[in-house]
Symmetry: C2
DNA sequence: ATTGGTCAAGTGGTCCGACCAATTGTGCGA
DNA sequence: TCGCACAATTGGTCGGACCACTTGACCAAT
């Protein structure tokens, strides 16, 4: 029964999605002003109330900023993140220190309890980091995946959640400027070496060594941050 | 210049907040149907389009569920949480285990670095738990505050964030049924005793004892859960 | 030339009334 | 008793109207 008619989503949702696509496609840059409601209605072939409903939905979602008498503007992504969920004021060094604790334990638990499939997933994620760092590719996504796989292998989804929460803090103010600097090939090579120590310890089922390797990795990351931090000042 | 006129919020926002209050006040229980849009408009003295805008805002926020031709229903809190951000499937026992790790470290750091003001805050939060558990008052809020104050005293806002994230998991499916049972006076007395051990260790600046006391508290909580879990089955 | 105020165009805010479409309950008929 | 059709209810969409606020241009006084 693949013929099921498309669920008739409500009009305001379709319009909202359409506008949302235009924004993410770069048609309207952050801070830019959208056409007036009346023009949008005409362009999209719908009534103004429907456009208004869509705009309100996007406003609630934090994508748009409506200013009376002036116009409708695309919310700056930086501002948007502040609205979205828990954004503690945790600085990079606090996050690193907390990650050392949590991810260290994740690594130890992974060494103790990871299933063969999870070990494969860790190995695969590690390989991807190696591959991408060789090609000068931004390894941030792969790096996150590597740490996530280890957390998952701990078999405690609460730890996974905590780790993800901390990782998302990277979007904070100071963080981004630091991250940019750490894409140098030399830094990447160090990271890979430390990752290998972690993988090795987990593979040979040595919880203490895994915890130690992860904590060492965090300490070294901390040092790299310090280095860039002082250099940047 | 305290004369700044109140920023005139838009009508749909006011209406949405008003409806939101009615819901959280229990006027409309989860799953209940709201009055028709037309009636709401008349009751609130506004037009139907404005009511619709408010309803769409609340729908986007996940508070309402609109069914064409049928009516507007209050979203079940269980469903709502699924939509809202990170809601891992972390069960109570996983959360407890993760909290033992994180809050244990928080307690140790608090013993090491808490300021006098923070120590006072911990003491005060503890007193409140004692007071409310004596009066058969639901001590959940006070209990959270107690643990939060200790986390704050760790001087690491990343740990505070992680702890809050885990604590919010309590709203999960299994959790609630367990929580209800644990309000018995006897349970409360045990909790207070364990809390006192934690406070005592932090006050005498003994990190190892503080970590141990916190972990023991978590272990005991774990045992209480187990007891209710097996009894309930 | 600069400053200040006025005013008009543009834009979102709100409202009304109407009609359409989906749902749901009811009552009639087989 | 069962099943179907009808009608009331309810949300969905529309067009138009008027109001309030913002903005920028224009003009007058300095």
């Amino acid at each position: 029964m693949p013929l099921q008619t498309v669920e008739p989503r409500r009009l305001y949702r379709k319009i909202a999605d359409q506008i949302s696509v235009l924004i993410s496609a770069g048609e309207y840059a952050p801070g830019a002003r959208l056409p007036p409601e009346r023009d949008l209605a005409k362009q999209l072939g719908v009534s103004r109330p429907s456009v208004r409903e869509a705009l309100i939905a996007l406003e609630v979602e934090g994508l748009l900023d409506v200013r009376v008498g002036s116009g409708i503007y695309v919310t700056d992504p930086a501002k948007r993140r502040q609205r979205n969920a828990l954004q503690g004021d945790a600085g990079p060094f606090e996050v690193i220190s907390a990650r050392a604790l949590i991810e260290g334990e994740c690594a130890a638990l992974a060494a103790k309890a990871a299933s063969p499939a999870q070990l494969d997933a860790i190995r695969e994620a590690h390989d991807r980091v190696v591959r991408e760092s060789r090609h000068d590719h931004n390894p941030l996504v792969a790096d996150r995946l590597f740490h996530l796989r280890i957390a998952e292998a701990s078999c405690n989804s609460a730890l996974v959640l905590a780790m993800q929460t901390l990782w998302d803090q990277r979007m904070g103010p100071l963080y981004r400027s630091l991250e940019r600097k750490l894409e140098h090939p030399k830094m990447a090579a160090e990271t890979v070496r430390e990752h290998e120590a972690i993988v090795s310890a987990i593979m040979r089922r040595d919880p203490r060594a895994a915890r130690g390797a992860m904590r060492r990795h965090m300490t070294q990351t901390h040092n790299r941050y310090i280095k860039e931090w002082t250099a940047g000042k």
